[in-house]
């Protein structure tokens, strides 16, 4: 008989963070759309200049971090929903984390290279 263990006593902050990051991403999306309509992406040069702005870099960075955290909670939820063996879940969690950290680093590199 396998003993079932529940009671990890976390989850609220992740659930909340997913909502908060969702809102942040939505706001960022609105700003970018507004900038596009305002012609910020009319040419490659305009776009480059727009993205070089310190404030835009900062909120883009926030967006990337939000996206990664949001994705972490969401993808982890999928593994928890559908993958039952705990060992397999740990591996998938680690791979997900590594991928997301990697993506985040890569994105930061791109933003500050511009």
């Amino acid at each position: 008989m396998k003993r079932l263990v529940v009671g990890a006593h976390y989850g609220l902050m992740d659930w909340l963070a997913q909502r908060v990051t969702g809102v942040l991403m939505a706001i960022y999306t609105v700003i970018i759309f507004a900038a596009m309509l305002g012609g910020a992406t009319a040419s490659r040069e305009a776009w480059q200049a727009f993205m070089a702005n310190g404030f835009i870099r900062f909120i883009t960075f926030l967006f990337i971090i939000s996206l990664c955290y949001h994705a972490w909670v969401g993808v982890r939820d999928i593994w928890m929903d559908y993958v039952n063996p705990a060992a397999m879940r740990v591996i998938l969690h680690v791979l997900t984390l590594l991928a997301l950290v990697g993506y985040a680093g890569w994105a930061v590199q791109i933003i500050w290279r511009l």
């Binding site: 989850g11 609220l12 992740d14 939820d77 928890m80 929903d81 559908y82």
Partner: protein, 240 residues
């Protein structure tokens, strides 16, 4: 009023572990009268014709929660499903509630479902010495329990919930969480923070992804998703 007979066709999930190697779908028809208004009436006729068709039933008025089953792909109570709600000419497909082990035909083993219900301590906890008379509660406070206490434990909701299908041992499920909130919302209950502690768990509560299948199927028109939302809201309020 005429009692004109008409024939109704069924496709029923059959499985008797005593006789059958594996489950199968049986095509069967029955004559019903216009007074057989509900699916359960037709099923009782069906059982008179073939006494081996097995299902649970009791009150036939939607308060006992016995005859929950999967009707044309959607969970519901046979006694509250009107015969004239079915499209003409197509067989009525009856299956056991999904996600629970089948004991026989339409009868499922509800152990896991009740285990989850029991796990939320579904009883009032108040450690003050009981007063001589009733504990007072304002009508407004009592109103908080409306839409919660009416649950009949039929399991339509939990067995319509994919999160419960995948993690029936770890996710409390909509019915259990509705019951949990029924006690959290009760001004007479003193264990609110323990109850919230117990539910603050990635599996027990947070497997709910608000897809609202539970709300869609509840034969009593209750809203477990809303109750789950309120539990989360209370957790946020106490955390921030």
């Amino acid at each position: 009023m005429t009692n004109a007979a008409r024939t109704v066709h069924f496709k029923i999930y059959r499985y008797d572990p005593d006789q059958d190697a594996k489950p199968y779908m049986q095509d069967i028809s029955v004559e019903i009268e216009s007074t057989d208004r509900k699916l359960l009436d037709a099923m009782v006729k069906l059982k008179a014709q073939d006494d081996s068709i097995s299902f649970r039933r009791s009150c036939r008025e939607g308060v006992c929660g016995s005859d929950a089953m999967n009707i044309n792909g959607k969970n519901g109570l046979a006694c509250l499903t009107a015969m004239d709600s079915f499209p003409e000419g197509k067989p009525i497909v009856l299956r056991p509630l999904p996600g629970l082990p089948v004991i026989r035909d339409l009868i499922v083993d509800m152990t896991q479902f009740f285990k989850q219900y029991n796990s939320i301590k579904p009883y009032l906890i108040n450690n003050d010495p009981p007063p001589e008379r009733e504990r007072l509660q304002s009508p407004e406070d009592r109103e908080e329990l409306d839409g919660l206490y009416e649950c009949i434990l039929c399991a339509c909701c939990s067995t319509a919930c994919p999160s419960f299908w995948w993690n029936p041992d770890k996710f409390v499920g909509p019915a259990g969480l509705l019951a949990a909130y029924r006690f959290i919302a009760d001004t007479r209950d003193q264990a609110t923070s323990d109850r919230l502690d117990d539910l603050e768990d990635p599996y027990r509560l947070f497997r709910c992804h608000t897809i609202m299948n539970c709300v869609d199927v509840c034969p009593k028109g209750l809203n477990p998703t809303k109750a789950i939302g309120k539990i989360k809201e209370m957790m946020v309020r106490r955390a921030v």
